[in-house]
């Protein structure tokens, strides 16, 4: 079923797709725990979610506005030694979170960061200062 739903659920998962994967897992359980324990009930629910995902993914490819609505937009957190304070506050991201992502890239301090971007999938991408012109 996951193979049919598509390749996007994986490394590129957005919060929306995270929910999708857990939702399919949860619906699988309905054939075991709910009053209607039939396999057909669980199957129809899972297929319905898969179809909705297909439709949403298809519209997302064609509409920028819809993609913004469903997945949001990347947000710049740090730009050449300047914190984007409004963005940090609104996204509830602390400088420690950015530094954690920087350490993951092998950077030793915040002043080595060129850009830090909060991606649509919730990850913080860090571009070293030396790579930014």
């Amino acid at each position: 079923m996951v193979r049919i739903v598509g390749r996007r659920p994986g490394k590129q998962m957005t919060p929306f797709e995270f929910v999708l994967i857990f939702f399919i897992g949860g619906l699988t359980l309905t054939s075991m725990v709910n009053n209607d324990r039939s396999f057909s009930n669980a199957l129809v629910q899972i297929v319905t979610v898969a179809c909705l995902h297909f439709l949403i993914a298809a519209v997302k490819v064609r509409s920028v506005w819809f993609t913004l609505l469903i997945d949001g937009t990347p947000v710049v957190l740090l730009e050449k030694k300047q914190w984007m304070s409004e963005n940090m506050l609104e996204m509830r991201i602390a400088d420690d979170d950015v530094m954690a992502a920087a350490r993951d890239k092998g950077l030793l301090s915040l002043d080595q960061i060129g850009y830090a971007v909060l991606e649509r999938n919730g990850e913080i991408s860090v571009i070293p200062l030396e790579e930014a012109s």
Binding site: T73, V75, N87, V117, S133
Partner: protein
Amino acid sequence: MSTATSPVRDSVSKVNDELAVGADLNFQRRWWVFERCVWVLFFLIVIADLLGCFGRGYFSHAEIKGPDGVTDIKYERIERFSTPSILTVNVGPSAVHQGQIKLWASGSLVKPLGNQRVIPEPLSSVLENGGILYTFSASARPSSVEFALEPATFGVFPLTLQVPGTEPVNLQIYVMP
């Protein structure tokens, strides 16, 4: 067999003309405003739930006394779909006749409100006037009858309870989905 191709267009917006991020800060600012409104709504839902507006809290517990003081009913004004609750009818000694108490309940007790069982077990239950007339064995002391409800549907349902020969007590029960 070759696959269809198209040239790469540099369509992703850039920061400082160098980093292709595709950020849309105008949309993001509007989203933050929307987010704040949704958070206010979420907190209101939690507060309403803690107060019992969705059942099982201060505002959902109710007690009503019959006009002539024979019955005293404790119930949940706000029920939840398919969730068990107890409706208690306390009956005064004046309702006891020949060691028996009769209590009539409107039909809504069974169908929408999903009466599962009656405690104590009635001596008889007879369909009468669009409802059910229960007969219980009782002493002269005040007695109580409990109905275990488990609503089978949601909506607003009137319920009437009456000890024959006294004024009926009308309740309104809201069943949340």
